[in-house]
């Protein structure tokens, strides 16, 4: 055990676990409850309190674990936010045709469980006439199945994490396992998440997903370029969601969904850069946010191109 001493947050997590265990039968996937108790990750400090040395150790330990598990070299990085960058996303709903190329590009890039299936992006289908008046993400149909899209008279709305400026999920987390980074990305420390799913209940967009079981990803499909608070393989019993492809975007690349979109409906950039495409569309296009009345202030903007 490298790090037996516990921080103040560690104590509060233990307290919470006790009460949660007594009061809430429904806390599923408490690490150690269902699977073998992993002392090392249980006593690990919160991500933001790790010293450089602890972090290096942790990354190395994870790389070894995953490389063995998936029988190929897996890198686990921890690249931090860039100065002067706050990410924003734009989605042109007048172009989206509902083909779901983004959904699967995301699954592959971000090592989502194939079975049981987890999709960070849901593409919702609406009657075009209704949708013109108001688009409610609780109403669309994600299960549409046509031979060809777009289907006549339909409109499509892809929804994933809205990377809110005021994220209700962060406020709901009892263990501070989820927080907002300086570049606006809301992340999750999978070693601190206790799987209580309060954040899922708090998210108005249904954007958080729970690993009910050990996620399954075929070794040949693992994306070996991972980030510690991003797309590294997740353990059983934790919550996960879109991170704007933190492992790509912090290195300057576009998210995988942007590159996969055949109609070019997906836009991404730095909100603080007046020359960026995201600023251009905020200035020149009609934009809206989902459930704007909740004042979550998404940094995910829908627009009409």
């Amino acid at each position: 055990m490298k790090n037996p001493e516990r921080g103040a947050r560690g104590a509060s997590r233990r307290e919470f676990l006790k009460t949660a265990g007594a009061g809430l039968g429904a806390v599923a996937g408490v690490p150690g409850a269902a699977q073998g108790f992993d002392l090392e990750s249980f006593f690990q400090r919160h991500f933001r309190e790790l010293t450089q040395e602890d972090l290096d150790d942790l990354l190395l330990r994870l790389e070894q674990k995953y490389s063995k598990q998936y029988r190929k070299p897996v890198q686990v990085g921890a690249i931090g936010p860039n100065d002067g960058v706050v990410f924003g996303y734009g989605l042109d709903i007048s172009r989206c045709i509902g083909c779901r190329r983004c959904v699967y590009a995301c699954i592959e890039e971000n090592n989502q469980s194939r079975d049981p299936e987890i999709h960070w992006i849901r593409v919702l289908e609406y009657e075009r006439e209704h949708a013109v008046r108001s688009i409610d993400p609780d109403e669309g149909n994600p299960f549409y199945d046509h031979d060809l899209v777009p289907a006549e008279g339909k409109l499509y709305l892809p929804v994933a994490c809205q990377q809110c400026e005021n994220p209700p999920c962060v406020a709901a987390c009892p263990t501070q396992a989820t927080w907002q980074e300086p570049d606006g990305i809301v992340v999750i420390d999978y070693d601190w998440c206790i799987g209580c799913r309060y954040c899922m209940a708090a998210c108005p967009y249904g954007a958080r997903h729970f690993n009910w079981r050990e996620p399954e990803i075929p070794a040949e499909e693992i994306n070996p370029d991972t980030h510690i608070i991003g797309n590294r393989p997740r353990p059983h019993g934790v919550v996960e969601k879109c991170t704007f492809c933190i492992q790509r975007t912090r290195k300057g690349r576009y998210p995988a969904c942007v590159e996969a979109c055949p109609v070019g409906a997906r836009k991404f950039g730095n909100l603080l850069d007046p020359e960026s495409e995201i600023r251009y569309l905020l200035e020149h296009k009609r934009t809206f946010a989902l459930k704007a009345e909740l004042a979550t202030n998404p940094r995910f903007f829908y627009f009409y191109g």
């Binding site: 599923a28 045709i97 779901r100 999709h119 576009y254 950039g269 020149h284």
Partner: protein, 208 residues
């Protein structure tokens, strides 16, 4: 390294003219590897000086896939001055279905130099630079495209990127975007729960 964007980019399979697009990406990646980080050379010889896009720095353009050998060079068949300007049913080129406003072939293709396209002032445009032709009638789209808001850019939001040119997405002869086969829908929650609980007795006492 500019090769990252095109090479690793997840250009969706089955997109419009997907095999062509993929081929183009592969070719582009090779070209970029060949110039090893230098300025992106799409074509080495240019018979006409190309006008700059007016962007700093000049972006890399993702050109349309090269035209099939069977049809290019066009001048193999179209010798000079053989053009017939009449709008008519053609005996050749029956793979082309024209559905673009009420345009006719020679509004875009040059009658005398068939390997080229032309603008309204008759100035020539290379096939690989066909986006310049589009600007002639769709000038309103160009600012959005330059800003990366109409069409698509791949690569880096900060760093080298490729601009997809118009005909990568729009068939110039029938430019409406063609419908695609969607990827499979998500499973319903009930099906997923069956996968989770159906075969795992030890967790079945916990309600989903």
């Amino acid at each position: 390294m500019p090769s990252q964007g095109a090479g690793a980019g997840g250009i969706g399979p089955g997109g419009p003219r997907a095999p062509w697009v993929l081929l183009a990406v592969v070719i582009l990646a090779f070209v970029m590897l060949a110039v090893a980080g230098g300025p992106l050379a799409l074509r080495t010889e240019r018979p006409y000086p190309s006008r700059p896009l007016g962007l700093e720095p000049e972006p890399a353009l993702l050109p349309p896939p090269p035209i099939d050998d069977e049809y290019f060079p066009c001048e193999d068949c179209h010798e000079e001055e053989s053009a017939d300007p009449k709008v008519r049913e053609l005996d050749e080129h029956d793979n082309i279905e024209l559905a673009h406003g009420d345009l006719w072939c020679l509004d875009c293709h040059d009658a005398d130099q068939r390997d080229l396209l032309h603008l309204s002032d008759a100035s020539p445009v290379e096939m690989a630079e066909s986006w310049r032709l589009c600007t002639r009638c769709h000038a309103k789209k160009i600012p959005d495209w330059r800003a990366g808001v109409h069409g698509k850019r791949t690569g880096h939001w900060r760093g080298p990127k490729e601009y997809w040119t118009c005909v990568v997405c729009h068939d110039p002869h029938s430019p409406l975007f063609k419908p695609l086969e969607p990827r499979p829908p998500p499973k319903r929650a009930s099906e997923i729960q069956l996968r989770i609980y159906g075969e795992q007795e030890e967790t079945s006492d916990e309600e989903p």
